[in-house]
């Protein structure tokens, strides 16, 4: 066990898997000599060499396309997209190619790649360094989407993703990289892709979140606990596959449901969670399914007042929790 922040847990997972399996390599813009803009691959270039820690051109479709080809020929690439905001040129390679290769070949071919991408706002990144892209990709059968919120999960889920036989999009909230630290198991620590985790037990309402919003929901739940309102916080961790059972079990216990994400409201992944609850736990509901999300504007502004306006935060979430609890 060692105390780690999420950025260090990500680095440990990659390093350990590269030591374990020589087929694993990392590739992306500045992942080599620089060690990544956030330092996720710091030290790996010196440890594993240029061929396995590959600096690529600034061309996201090319990064993912090369990773797909390398996987077809036996390697296990971890492709880093420097910011999720820049993943869009690779959408076709991820969605039409990686996610469909097994299906279109009826199981003959597979693409075991991991695409890592820092995402999310609250860091004054403006329109092009703040985006949340999970809803685009969680819609795609054939692709797994993982969004850890804690360091130990980040390590365990990333190691599982690297060993997964199918493509995995691994979204790391950039504000969480250095937000919290915790004890992270050394060595063979694997967290299965799929199951959600209840971060805080509660009885009055269920709150579902991922990434940074998990932390904000926990803070809001703490505030409500002082007023005698017990909130259950569920960290989904994986959006595809989605742990429907844990979601429904929680709602059946509390009777009320809230989904929190910083992606904008309309068509966000919260809508899918709300639909599942409405369809399968309708009889248990004692109030409307509520979503707390970013507003429906094109992206997060750079200036402070408008960034704060965009981002859900513990105060906004706590207010929504109180309102739902009182319904």
């Amino acid at each position: 066990m060692a105390e780690m922040r999420m950025i260090e847990a990500v680095r440990a997972a990659i390093s350990e898997e590269m030591e374990r399996d020589e087929r694993v390599l990392v590739m992306g813009e500045d992942v080599g000599r620089k060690g990544g803009v956030f330092g996720a691959t710091d030290g790996l270039y010196a440890k594993f060499g240029e061929a396995r820690v590959l600096d690529t051109p600034l061309a996201e479709s090319g990064i993912v396309g090369v990773a797909i080809g390398a996987a077809l020929n036996g390697l296990i690439p971890i492709a880093e997209i420097q910011f999720a905001d820049f993943i869009h040129p690779a959408f076709d390679q991820i969605v039409s190619e990686a996610a469909r290769t097994r299906y279109r070949s009826n199981g003959d071919w597979s693409v075991p790649i991991v695409i890592r991408a820092p995402f999310g706002g609250g860091v004054h990144g403006g329109l092009y360094h703040s985006q949340s892209v999970e809803a685009f990709y969680a819609h795609v059968p054939g692709l797994k989407v993982v969004v850890p919120s804690m360091p130990a999960d980040a390590k365990g889920l990333l190691k599982s993703a690297i060993r997964d036989p199918d493509p995995v999009l691994f979204l790391e909230h950039k504000k969480v990289y250095r937000l919290v630290s915790e004890e992270v198991p050394a060595g063979e620590h694997l967290v299965p892709i799929g199951p959600a985790v209840v971060r805080r037990e509660g009885t009055r309402l269920s709150c579902f979140a991922w990434g940074l919003m998990t932390h904000y929901c926990l803070q809001a739940a703490e505030q409500l606990a002082a007023g005698g309102i017990s909130v259950e916080v569920v960290d989904l961790r994986c959006l595809a596959p989605l742990d429907r059972e844990t979601i429904l079990e929680s709602v059946r216990k509390t009777g009320k449901a809230m989904i929190v994400h910083e992606d904008n409201l309309t068509g966000g992944f919260g809508a899918e969670v709300a639909a599942i609850i409405s369809e399968h736990a309708f009889d248990s509901l004692d109030g409307p399914v509520v979503r707390v999300a970013g507003p429906d504007i094109p992206a997060m502004p750079f200036n402070n007042p408008q960034e704060e306006f965009f981002m859900p935060n513990p105060a906004k979430i706590a207010e929504a929790m109180k309102k739902l609890a009182a319904y």
């Binding site: 020929n73 279109r104 597979s110």
Partner: protein, 347 residues
């Protein structure tokens, strides 16, 4: 060797030959040339038959492949099937026949049958692929596979294996961003990659989609060798692929081969040949006619043998249509299969 039995055709020209080491001498041996010519004729027979099938059966089988047969079998001849990688585009029928695809495989795909070995009837016809044969199944998006081919070649390089990757595209694929990203990556890492551009646009006049410079100029700017060839001439193409594969195998980097070919078929719905006056202008340029003349002049092929080859190919294709027609379709709910692996980890 006899080259007209259905069984041999179904295993593919070079699958029958199964050479451990390719060489120009071996690939120009009489029996090899006959086998490759047979493959060219078979590809043409399949295309022609599909024109008929599409009008009589509820299938979508139109493959516009005429004119590319010579350059495709030459490419196959320069590779080692099962060892080198092929990343084809939907017009690479003769190439895929040469490395193992059978006429029955084609028809099973055309009819969307469960036994279609490439995709179980999921992909539209023309998306050939086989992991065992190292023929990569690609999508319908032009150019996307070029950057993937660069990734295949990168894996070859870092693994230190002796493999060459051939990726094919038509002239439109060259305009895609992924072609440029893939060729740039291949040049930057001197990868063992051959990119074949099967260009039939000259038959219809050039399309002004870039301001200046040939495809070869652009390839060379990215650090690859490049040459423009007469894609209708087998010997010219075989020599070019020989140079390119030698370069790739000796760590000399990649090559773009820009093959100019003729377009013999109409782009009108339902296919068919181009109008007679247009075909007349292309007289003597049909690659199968050119290969036939070459073999007749060299004494490798007799006229009677040629007639037999034509009849046998038509017969094999007709039998394949009959068998595919009778083959079962996949069950509807099996559409849920193979979204993800059932295994927890890859091997």
């Amino acid at each position: 060797m006899p080259i007209t039995s259905q069984g041999q055709c179904q295993r593919g020209t070079l699958g029958v030959l199964a050479p451990k080491v390719q060489s120009t001498e071996r690939m120009t041996a009489p029996h090899t040339l006959l086998a490759l010519y047979h493959t060219m004729v078979m590809a043409r027979a399949i295309e022609r038959r599909l024109w008929v099938v599409e009008h009589t059966e509820p299938v979508n089988g139109y493959l516009r492949v005429s004119g590319l047969e010579a350059v495709q079998v030459a490419a196959a001849a320069a590779l080692r099937p099962g060892r080198d990688w092929i990343v084809p585009c939907p017009t690479d029928l003769a190439l895929c026949l040469a490395v193992g695809l059978s006429p029955l495989d084609v028809m099973l795909a055309v009819f969307g049958r469960a036994d279609d070995p490439a995709s179980g009837g999921r992909q539209t016809p023309g998306a050939f692929g086989s992991r065992a044969a190292r023929v990569v199944m690609t999508s319908a998006a032009a150019g996307r596979h070029v950057v993937q081919a660069a990734g295949i070649a990168y894996a070859t390089k870092v693994s230190g294996r002796d493999e060459v990757t051939l990726v094919c595209t038509d002239e439109r694929g060259v305009q895609s961003g992924d072609w440029h990203e893939g060729i740039n990556f291949a040049g930057a890492h001197a990868l063992p990659l051959i990119c074949l551009i099967e260009d039939r646009s000259r038959s219809e006049g050039p399309i002004a989609q870039h301001s200046n410079g040939s495809t070869v100029d652009r390839a060379e700017a990215y650090g690859l060798a490049g040459e423009t060839i007469d894609g209708g001439d087998f010997d010219t193409a075989l020599a070019a692929f020989g140079r390119a594969s030698d370069r790739a195998r000796s760590q000399g980097g990649g090559t773009v081969i820009h093959a100019l070919a003729v377009e013999l078929t109409s782009k009108a719905p339902g296919g068919g040949l181009r109008p007679p006056e247009e075909l007349e202008a292309l007289a003597g340029q049909d690659p199968i006619d050119r290969m036939r003349r070459r073999l007749l002049e060299a004494g490798v092929l007799e006229a009677a043998d040629d007639e037999q080859i034509q009849r046998d190919c038509a017969s094999v294709v007709a039998a394949a249509v009959e068998e595919a027609t009778a083959a079962p379709s996949p069950d509807g709910p099996r559409a849920l299969d193979n979204v993800f692996s059932r295994a927890q980890e890859h091997g």
